[in-house]
Structures are given as C-alpha cells and as structure tokens.
C-alpha cells in the first residue's frame, strides 16, 4: 500500500489532469450534443493550437496567454467555415465522424511537415513552479488549466441555461423542425456554436502546450479518454464534462499509484463500459 502522501499527491495530480480532460472534452461534448456532429478534428485542432502557442512563444517570445487570445478568434473562424462546408454537403452524425477524421489526418500531416515528428517541449519559467500545500505539491500551470476549465464549463453552462441563445440552442438540439417553426434561427446558432467549440479547442491547446510534450501523433492518444469523458458527462452538458474529466483523471491517477502505471487505461475504459451497459438515469 503506498503512503498517504503519495495517494494525496496522485489524487491532486489526477484532479488537475482531469480538469484538462474536461477542457478538451467541452467543445466535443457541445458539438456532439447540440449539433449532432462528432467532431474528431477537435483533437487535431487542439494540437494545432498547442503548436501555434509553442511557436509564438519560442520564436516570437509571445506569452501563451496573449497567444491564446490571438488564436481563439482564428479558430472560431475555422469552426464557422467547417460548419458551412458540413451544412452545404448535409453531413450527418456518421459522415461527420469520417469527414473530421480526414481533417484530423490533414492537420496531423501539416503539423508533421512544419514542426517534424520530433517531441517538442515549451519551456517557460513558470512551467515547473509549484505551490506547496503541506506535503503536497500543486503545479501552477496545471492548476490554471483546471481553473480555466471550471470557469469555461460554468460560463457555458450558465450561457446555455439562462440566455435566450442558450435556450434556443437546446431547443434546436431537441427538435430542430419544431424549433425552426417557433422562429429559432437554427443555422445561425449552429455557426455560432461551431465557432465557440473550435475556439475552446484553441484554449485547450494553449494549456496542452504548457503542460505536455508535443508530437503530431499525440493527437490520437487523447481520443479514448476524452470520448469516455464526453459520454460519462452526458452529451452537451458542460458541467458534466468537467465532472467526468475530474472523475476519470483522479481514478486513473490513483490506479497508477496503487497498481502500476501500465494499467491506467483500463480504468477509464472500464468506467466507460460499465456506464454504457448500466446507463444510470442521472441527467
């Protein structure tokens, strides 16, 4: 049995990493739940964002926070454009999965062409700074990612719940035809949401650049765990995505500390399988 300090430390790391899972899952969950589009390209877009932050930071010495602010509107435009194409070709839930897989491979190839397949690490002076709470270290950057994830998730939740636009989006997801009959501009809303999801990918990318090592092939390593988070958190539910991210992150991290790091993937996927089979009604 590992010591309490080790367990506490891995719990904290897991929760913080889980926040990042939630942040990546947020945009995916929204587009799947509210637009019925499974956007695999979300991962590729997040890594494109990470590479841009890395490039702006190392080559032009731009702070990652400014870089993120610069990237977000660009990605918003990309999301709108992608949605325009999908709308034109009447992409369905299934074909969206395939088309966005293709987009992911295109982005992956572009990343590899520009930045090569080598591992890259964005070095900043605060990357290794940690707060110390008793015996437990809390890395600053990961704490910031978790806080940003919580803030975005909460803001999105409030937006969907309380504003007219949010209610219209939920209504359009529930029954598109009736919503349109009641005067909801579904197309306009879909463009907006698609842009927002892509912008979230950019924000998530900035934190990925700060926290993890970058390689183009890493796009695929996030796929399984983030999909598990999206499903467990229920489609289109921002707070659910965050909570599920934290849950999975903590469970993985504790499993790594108590058994062996190699068994970690089993945790998230077993949780996913159990939840899919059991289907608790908690929405």
């Amino acid at each position: 049995m590992p010591s309490m300090t080790l367990l506490g430390q891995s719990l904290v790391s897991g929760v913080l990493l889980g926040g990042l899972y939630g942040l990546v899952a947020l945009g995916l969950s929204l587009s799947w739940g509210l637009l019925r589009l499974v956007n695999l390209a979300h991962f590729a877009l997040a890594f494109l964002g990470a590479y841009l932050v890395y490039h702006l930071g190392t080559v032009w010495h731009l702070s990652p926070w400014w870089a993120a602010l610069l990237i977000a509107p660009l990605f918003f435009a990309f999301g709108v454009l992608q949605h325009a194409v999908f709308l034109y070709f009447r992409v369905t839930e299934l074909t969206s999965l395939l088309a966005t897989f293709g987009i992911s491979v295109i982005i992956e190839s572009a990343l590899q062409w520009i930045w090569t397949a080598d591992f890259r690490r964005f070095e900043t002076h605060y990357a290794s700074t940690s707060l110390k709470l008793g015996p437990i270290y809390v890395p600053v950057v990961e704490l910031a990612a978790c806080v940003a994830a919580a803030a975005l998730a909460w803001a999105t939740w409030a937006w969907l719940r309380w504003t007219y636009v949010g209610k219209a989006l939920r209504a359009a997801a529930e029954d598109p035809e009736i919503a349109v009959a009641f005067g909801i501009n579904r197309r306009g809303l879909a463009f907006l949401l698609s842009g927002v999801c892509a912008a979230y990918a950019g924000v998530a990318g900035a934190f990925i650049a700060l926290i993890s090592t970058l390689a183009p092939s890493q796009i695929w390593t996030w796929l399984g765990v983030v999909f598990a988070v999206v499903i467990i958190g229920r489609l289109g539910n921002p707070l659910g995505a965050l909570a599920a991210g934290v849950l999975i992150g903590a469970a993985e991290s504790l499993a790594m500390a108590t058994f062996s790091p190699a068994w970690a993937p089993v945790v998230s996927f077993s949780v996913l399988i159990v939840l899919l089979l059991w289907q608790p009604d908690w929405s």
Binding site: L94, F101, V105, I106, I231, I273, Q279
Partner: protein, 594 residues
C-alpha cells in the same frame, strides 16, 4: 441469369487461380508484399462490413478481434510450437468467442445502438490491449514471430504468406457475397434501417446480429493470424492502435459499406495510395492528400463509390430502355381464387372460436400504467374495431400483442398457445402482422424488397423466389406494382400507407392488426382502403382495426371494443356501442352524453 452468374463465378475462380501462381513468376518480393497488403486490407474491411456495414452497427473495435487473432497465432506458434496453419482456425475461434461474449451482453440493450456501440467497442479494444500488454501474452516487450516455420506452399516464405492472404481475401469476399444474398443478409439490411420493425416483421434480430458479429470477428481473427507472421514482430501499440479500426471504417464507407463489394473497392484504393506514400519525403504530404481525397469523397458520395456507380448505371439503363408500362393502373385488383374463403364470410357473424385471447393484460412504463387489466377475445374471421380517446392504450395494446413491448403481467393466447413471453419475431412467425400508424418502411430497400422481406420472414417463411411472387401479388392488390423498384421515400403518404398494408399482408397473417391505416387519407382513398380491408377479411384473415374515423369503424366492424384509460370500457355490436351514452361521454365530454 443463372448462366451469367455461373460464368462470373468461373471467371472469379480463374482470376484467383492466376493470382495464386504469381509468386512462381519470379517477380521481385516487392510485388508479393504490395499485393499481400491490399488483400489484407480488403479482407479486414470486408469482414468489418458484415456486421457494421450491413446491419449498421458501427464498430470501432475491430482491432480487438484482429489483435486477438494475431496474438493467438503468435502465442501458440512461438511458445507452444503449434504448426502455423493449425493456429489460424484457433485464432478465428478465439476472436469469434470474444465477439459472441461481447454481443451476448450488448445486443440485448436497446440503448446501445449507433455511436454508443461504436464507443463501447473502442473501449473494449483498449481494455483487451491493456490486458495483453500487462500479462505474459506480450508483457510489454513484443513478440518475435519471424522464426516461426512457414509451410512451403510456395518457393519462398513471402510467397506463402501472399498465397494465404489471397485465399483469405477470396474466401472473405465469397462469404460476404453469400451473406449479402441470403436471408441473413436481408435481415441485416432490415436491421440497419429499422431494427424494431425488423423484429416485428419476424426477423430474429438478436441471433442475426450475433451471427454477423461472430463471422466478422472470426475472419478478422484469421486475417490477424496470417498478419502476425507477415509483420514478424508484434507490439501492442501497433496491433491495437487507431489505424485498423479507422482504416476499415474509412475504406468501407468510401467504397460503400452496404454493398458486399464496396469495402473491397475502398480498401484497394486507400491501401494502394497509402503504400505509394509510405516511403520517402512525400510520406506526410501523401497522407494528407489521401485524407483530403477521403473528405471530398465522403462529402460528395456519402453512400460510397459502389452504390453510387450502381445507381448511375441503373439510371443510364432505364433511360435507354423503354419506360415501364403503367397500364396496370392503380386500382382494386380482383383477388383470384379463395372462393372457399368468400363462402365463409356469411357464416362469420355468428359466434366463432377465439383466435386471440387477451387475459388481464397490464403494461406499465415506470409509474405510468398504459394498460391496466385488459381482457378481450378476438374471434376467428371477425373485424374487431378498437376505439378510444387518444392515450387510452390502443397502440400500446397492439405493441404488446406483437411482442414489441413485453407484458408487465397477464397473458396472451394465440389459438390457445401462450405467446406472451415470445420475442416479437416469434410472434410474427406464428401469424400476427401489423401496420404502423406512421409508415415505417425500410428506407434503403425497394418497395418490392420491403414486401418480400415480410413474406420471407412471416408466418409462411417463404424462399426468396416464392417471397417475390407473394410480394408482387400484394403489390398488385394494393395498386403499388408499378412502383416496385422505387425506394419508399419516393412514395406519397397514401402509397406508403398501402405499402404498410402490403407488407403486413404478405406475411400471410392469420391475425392482422391495423393501426390507423385511414388517418391522413382523403375520402376517395378511404373508400378504396375500406374496400381492401373487406377483401382481406374475405380471404379468411382476422382483423383488429384501430381507428378514429367512426364512419369506417361502424361500416367495417363486426364488433367494437372501446378502451379508456388503459381498460376495456365497452364491447359489442357497433350500433349499440356507439349509441351508449357513456361511450359518447368519454369521446365528447359529458355534455353531449345526454
């Protein structure tokens, strides 16, 4: 037709034979390897499509079965010295067993369709991968298989692997062709379009899905077994990576996942272009370019290359041929024969025995009690009108009788035999058929196939040829014969309603449940439909008839049963029941009842 088929069969066998001789031609080993990779992807993509393309259960876990086969062959041949060829059937069996295990749980759950099934299978493949990685099977170091002795079927080992790949590929295509043209295939296509309706039309959906899953996995396992030797060195990350599940999906969808040849065409295109770009500096650009082509293909041809070409070819041919004769104008066509039945009509009115006995049937959904103790006999040969306000439980009763919803309590007896616990397809097989209020045709099957399918899986269990004859008979009857090659989407509402009717009738039902067949029809169409229903009864079919249109109910019914709030409220002769003030009051409110 059969002559042409035999000829193409001989052609295919000859082609395979010629390809099999290729390693003897003394070409550089590159050709063996290149062609092997193409065969390998064709087999994998085609095997994936048996469940996922035909039945629409998209799996992202094909790597689990492929990988199970790879590691079975590797483990048996390296650690236990089992001869390579012997390991292949074992690899197939292990993969099939894994699929049956998963399917036996998953296929029972209605909520696990669509994307959720895809994710579940993805998760299963990651779990299998982690288990193999962390146990003695791999242990993280990988397994070296290059020392495994390969039988000398060909002069060189690479030639032997090529031959095995070719045989796998030809076998897979042959199996898939046979499935696509069999009852199993027809059932899987119907499951793809509407699984609930498929079950009610008599298709044993659970068994068919499980069979398709097992076959699909077995082929993937055997292909994996051969590939284990081809690669020479197995690692978990390569075997269970995202490449296999994603490529098989893309290849199948690109070529057309619902067609037996579609995945093979897609696989050949993608595998060849990937191979062309694997080496040199163009690798990344090439991959990006392939991906771009893929996006374009999916956006422009969402159905896939083969079905799109087929449609284009069919359109070209119909334009060349003379337009089909529409002389068989829609209208009630006299039904031949069956004088015995029409003679029976007169004697039907008096008491006959009960064909269906409904005994204290309850059905609740959570806290909502939709049926609270309905007891009712349906007599042989009668038309029973089932009426009641909206929400009174009429459609629920039909759904319970056909087995679409299981009973909460009570019993159902058809000819004295309990059918309450049978699955829906079993009830359909005993001669109960229904129509849907809102027509639910199989969207990707032609009008003819929609009806023929019901004949093939209905009470008579007809062969393919006999089911087509039966289907055409009912298309004549409902006036849809001229539209038999169309897809349901090309029909208007009243034609779709008549298609529902034809589909129910071709199952040769003894008891026919009609759920608001008249709603939405105009007066002329209603008169025609009433005429059709009379004729159906004249042929000896018992009819239960849910309807809001009182004119038709009174005109057609021998007896009327009134349901209210999930219970039987009144039962008797039409005129008497409709005059009953209590019946009037539940329909129109108390004020009218006086």
């Amino acid at each position: 037709m059969t002559g042409r088929r035999k000829l193409s069969g001989i052609g295919a066998a000859g082609g395979v034979g010629l390809l099999a001789l290729l390693p003897l031609a003394g070409l550089p080993a590159f050709y063996d390897s290149f062609l092997y990779i193409i065969f390998y992807w064709i087999s994998l993509a085609t095997s994936w499509a048996i469940l996922s393309g035909f039945a629409g259960y998209f799996s992202f876990g094909h790597a689990a079965f492929f990988g199970a086969g790879m590691y079975t062959t590797a483990t048996l041949s390296v650690k236990f010295g089992v001869p390579f060829l012997v390991t292949l059937p074992i690899a197939a069996a292990v993969a099939a067993a894994l699929a049956v295990g998963i399917g036996a749980v998953v296929f029972r759950l209605k909520q696990l369709r669509g994307e959720l099934f895809a994710l579940l299978t993805l998760a299963v493949s990651f779990v299998v991968a982690t288990i193999i990685l962390n146990t003695g099977i791999d242990g993280g170091a990988g397994v070296l298989t290059s020392s495994v002795a390969v039988p000398h079927l060909m002069p060189s080992p690479s030639g032997t692997i090529y031959l095995l790949g070719l045989l796998m590929c030809a076998g897979t295509l042959a199996i898939t062709y046979v499935i696509a043209h069999s009852r199993l295939g027809l059932g899987l296509f119907a499951i793809h379009d509407d699984e609930d309706v498929a079950e009610v039309k008599g298709i044993p959906t659970f068994r068919y899905k499980l069979t398709a899953f097992a076959l699909s996995a077995a082929i993937a396992g055997a292909v994996g077994g051969v590939h284990a030797i081809y690669v020479g060195f197995l690692t978990v990350s390569e075997t269970f990576g995202i490449a296999v599940p994603l490529y098989v999906v893309l290849m199948s969808v690109l070529g057309g996942a619902r067609h037996w040849l579609g995945p093979a065409v897609g696989a050949a295109i993608i595998a060849a272009s990937l191979y062309a770009f694997t080496s040199g500096d163009q690798a990344m650009i090439g991959r990006g370019f392939v991906a771009f082509l893929l996006v374009v293909a999916i956006l422009i041809l969402p159905e896939g290359i083969v079905p799109s070409l087929q449609r284009w070819w069919a359109r070209l041919r119909t334009r060349a041929a003379t337009p089909p004769a529409v002389s068989e104008a829609p209208g009630v066509v006299a039904v031949t024969g069956n004088e015995k039945a029409s003679g029976k009509v007169a004697s039907l009115h008096p008491q006959t025995r009960a064909i269906l006995e409904i005994r204290d049937v309850h059905k609740s959904f959570g806290g909502l009690q939709a049926l609270r103790g309905v007891t009712l006999d349906v007599r042989e040969g009668e038309i029973l009108g089932l009426v009641g306000p909206n929400g009174s439980g009429k459609t629920t009763l039909i759904n319970v009788i056909t087995g679409h919803f299981p009973l909460t309590s009570g019993s159902l007896l058809l000819d004295g035999t309990a059918i309450g616990d049978l699955p829906a397809h079993g009830i359909a097989g005993r001669g109960i058929a229904r129509t849907y209020q809102i027509p639910r045709p199989f969207a990707h099957l032609t009008v003819l196939d929609n009806v023929a399918l019901a004949a093939a899986f209905g009470a008579a269990e007809l062969s393919r040829a006999a089911s087509l004859v039966e289907a055409r008979r009912w298309l004549d009857f409902t006036g849809l014969r001229a539209k038999e090659t169309m897809l349901p989407a090309d029909l208007n509402l009243h034609e779709r309603k008549f298609l529902e009717l034809a589909r129910a009738l071709s199952a040769s039902p003894r008891l026919l449940l009609l759920d608001e067949v008249l709603s939405g029809l105009n007066p002329a169409e209603i008169d025609r439909a009433i005429g059709l229903i009379r004729e159906i009864r004249a042929q000896g079919t018992t009819i239960v008839f849910v309807e809001h249109l009182m004119r038709a109910v009174v005109e057609l019914s021998d007896r009327i049963a009134v349901l209210n709030e999930g219970a039987l409220f009144a039962l008797g002769e039409p005129a008497a029941v409709m005059r009953d003030p209590r019946v009037v009051s539940i329909y129109l409110g108390k004020a009218y009842a006086a």
